[in-house]
């Protein structure tokens, strides 16, 4: 019973802990599959870059409307989409490769975003935007996150096959007359959408962590796309739960605590996961 009290007590006792857990569940449901696809498409770094690209948009929203959910969300979504499209366009029109173009945009965006927030806000506001406030998440934000998760899962259900095919064998998809470019754009929009949802809870710096770390860990546990996505969701949820407890008992900021938990799960996956982990490597060598 003591263990039960320790593990479930904070969530039974406090509404804000329950809300945070629901938020994490919704983030995991959308972010798990998106992160899995980002890795399969070798776009992990682009996810990272896009998460920073959201910042100046959020900051503009903040300048206009203060800590207002619709203004910051809309700004973040617009900025993310703009950078995604601009990077793709620059990669096509100039010799700069898409990943280099993303990197350039993201450094620029991060600096610009911090500057914009500082124009009006305090350091507390800046921390709020960068690291999120999942423990004080309100109904509107929860509905937004859950809505994004719903849209993401439905859109992925529709785009699932062409998305995977475009990543496995892009020329094959094109030989069937498939619109690879449109599918890529739709996918990038989903990535931005999930990052904007994640920023509410975890901040622009940490949002991508709950997307990428569980997805990167999943490959040590599963071997097919659907199971990779399912494991990502489970690991993200576990990280969210463990991180919230960590932040509760340690009086630590919740966003970073959740990502640290995801990081620990990642290290465990690398060490002892059933597929190609260090442990398996050691065993198959029969040492």
């Amino acid at each position: 019973m003591i263990i039960w009290d320790a593990l479930a007590g904070p969530f039974i006792e406090f509404g804000f802990m329950r809300r945070a857990l629901v938020g994490v569940l919704a983030l995991a449901l959308g972010g798990g599959p998106i992160g899995t696809l980002l890795i399969l498409r070798r776009m992990s770094l682009m996810g990272d870059a896009l998460s920073h690209a959201v910042l100046p948009g959020v900051a503009l929203g903040f300048l206009v409307g203060g800590l207002s959910l619709p203004a910051m969300t809309l700004g973040g979504f617009a900025a993310g989409l703009f950078v995604a499209l601009a990077s793709g366009l620059i990669a096509r029109l100039t010799p700069l490769r898409e990943d280099a173009s993303f990197a350039a945009f993201y450094l620029f965006s991060l600096a610009l975003g911090v500057m914009l927030v500082s124009l009006r806000g305090s350091n507390v506001d800046l921390l709020h935007v960068l690291f999120g406030t999942i423990l004080s998440i309100d109904d509107a934000a929860l509905i937004l996150i859950a809505g994004v998760a719903t849209v993401t899962l439905l859109a992925l259900a529709v785009l699932y096959r062409p998305l995977l095919l475009e990543c496995f064998d892009p020329l094959f998809l094109r030989s069937l007359g498939g619109a690879g470019g449109m599918i890529h754009a739709g996918f990038l929009a989903l990535v931005v959408l999930n990052l904007v949802a994640g920023f509410q809870a975890l901040g622009t710096l940490m949002a991508v962590g709950l997307m990428m770390l569980p997805a990167a860990s999943a490959r040590f546990w599963a071997r097919q796309v659907w199971s990779l996505a399912a494991v990502s969701i489970a690991l993200a949820l576990l990280a969210g739960y463990a991180g919230l407890l960590l932040s509760y008992y340690g009086a630590l900021p919740s966003g970073p605590a959740i990502i640290v938990a995801a990081g620990v799960l990642h290290l465990i996956s690398i060490a002892v996961g059933p597929h190609q982990s260090l442990l398996m490597r050691y065993r198959t060598r029969g040492v």
Binding site: L40, D169, S175, L176, Q224, V225
Partner: protein, 233 residues
């Protein structure tokens, strides 16, 4: 049932550098044609233009019938070979026109996959991940997918690069069967002995068309020298 091709004054450029220039050639329905030439001669470019993946800078390619399906085998480097998909599912992609974005595979689809896997000797590998296959096995799997596509025009970009001799022999037989069925096949190849033995027609490229037509009149020392000289320019 094969597709005929008329290539008229075709040029294709990448970033304003011409990869192929002023190609004119006619492929009769049912032709089995090898595309050869030195490195950088534009062989893959020509194949991609025929497949409709590259837009001509100049000239055009006409297919007859116009809307027949095209089955295209990419170079291995253009495929994600570690992708988490089973051999069976990868071959099933050949039935995309029937299955598409949403339909489930039915018994007929599954049987077709089994038959194609048997034909390329991969039955035992059906449920393995594609990442576990050797280069030769991977190429066999892609040929099984091509079989399911059942297309009148088949384009093969370096089907035998880094593939073991036995696989080359088995897959060549499949290509000859396709020709016997009346399909039009174009393949980018490097092994000139194999071209001379098994491919009735040949296109020799070095950015421009050096020669094209029956293999015995195309694969002459003079033509090959001319191609090598143009490649060195």
């Amino acid at each position: 049932m094969g597709t005929g091709l008329t290539i008229e004054d075709l040029s294709v450029a990448y970033e304003r550098r011409l990869a192929i220039q002023n190609i004119a050639y006619t492929v009769q329905p049912g032709d089995l044609t090898a595309i050869i030439g030195p490195n950088g001669a534009g062989k893959s470019t020509l194949l991609k233009a025929i497949g409709g993946f590259l837009r001509p800078t100049q000239g055009r390619i006409m297919r007859s019938p116009e809307h027949g399906a095209v089955a295209y085998l990419p170079q291995l480097a253009e495929i994600e070979r570690d992708f988490p998909i089973t051999v069976s599912d990868a071959v099933l992609l050949g039935r995309w026109r029937r299955i598409g974005w949403f339909r489930a595979a039915d018994a007929a689809d599954r049987e077709a996959v089994e038959a194609a896997l048997a034909a390329v000797g991969l039955t035992a590998f059906a449920w393995r991940g594609v990442g576990t296959l050797s280069v030769g096995q991977f190429q066999r799997m892609l040929f099984a997918r091509l079989m399911l596509q059942d297309a009148p025009l088949i384009l093969l970009d370096e089907p035998f690069a880094a593939v073991d001799q036995r696989t080359v022999r088995d897959l060549t037989q499949i290509i000859l069967d396709w020709q016997a069925e009346g399909r039009t096949v174009l393949a980018v190849l490097h092994d000139l002995d194999q071209v001379a033995r098994q491919f009735p027609r040949t296109i020799l490229l070095a950015r421009r068309l050096i020669a094209g037509g029956p293999t015995e009149t195309t694969l002459t020392p003079e033509h090959l020298e001319a191609a090598a000289a143009m490649a060195d320019e």
